[in-house]
Symmetry: C2
Subunit: 147 residues, 2 copies
Amino acid sequence: MQQIKDIVDTLRNEGFRITPQRIAIIKYVIDTQSHPSAEAIHKIIQKKYPMVSLATVYKTLDLLRKMSMIQELGFADGSARYEANVGKHINIVCVRCGRIEDVDEHSLSGLESKVAEKSKYEIFSRRFELYGHCNECKRKKETQARR
Amino acid sequence: MQQIKDIVDTLRNEGFRITPQRIAIIKYVIDTQSHPSAEAIHKIIQKKYPMVSLATVYKTLDLLRKMSMIQELGFADGSARYEANVGKHINIVCVRCGRIEDVDEHSLSGLESKVAEKSKYEIFSRRFELYGHCNECKRKKETQARR
DNA sequence: TTATATGCAAACTTTTTGCACATGC
DNA sequence: GCATGTGCAAAAAGTTTGCATATAA
């Protein structure tokens, strides 16, 4: 689990400035479990800090991604969602309500090295997702798929 | 491995019409290993059939996706790429050159049922990706990441 | 002090949509 | 013949960019 302090220190060491905007964004992304979109992050942060612009949210998320501190999950509807959990895990995505949850799965380590050997790729990161219906949505009848 | 004939038959049985545009798109997507974008599909198909519009490519891909005949892989740069291999496999994505290759991995079955049980989700489909550098790009020095 | 970061608005990219015309069955 | 599909162009949605202003160090 990443700490806000570690991220801030790393940014500072790399010569990046620590602004209130960046702190607010980092704090929210690190703490949430909700895999938010850039717009969702912006809306929530604006409640406390109305001066934060959407462009700054995008720029900060881009910075954090380039520093490998967060992972960006692009979807085919053109949106992207972000998570601070960059460790080995599987995302389960409910295609009805859009919810995303993490499931730890350490057997992924063996899988990765096996695939790296077979393919001759050098692996840096991963995106493992299973799509289905969450427990709540399983019960609901009108299965209007989001994507 | 899916056959063009099967897909065409299924579409016909479901009441969809078989047009030259749809046949061309289905044929190309089924045969290629290249995980193309909608625009790439459009460009290639236009060489043979100049009358096919990009909108039709999108509409057909959407239809095929809804029929679970292809999988759509969205990326955070807003683009999507398509593959006809909907079976259990891992995509390895070269973040330098954008190449995507498939690696079969049947141990994914056990993984999926384990996660389904743990999470109470009902799983329909999957997207397992490993990001790194392909064998060629490993050797090249200027590692300009695409995303 | 000064290079970096922010905010705004405009630009860009990709995908979707509305509608008149064409066509598969 | 008629409901479905196509092509075009315009709209939408999400993200990026340019530039003047603000600010962290």
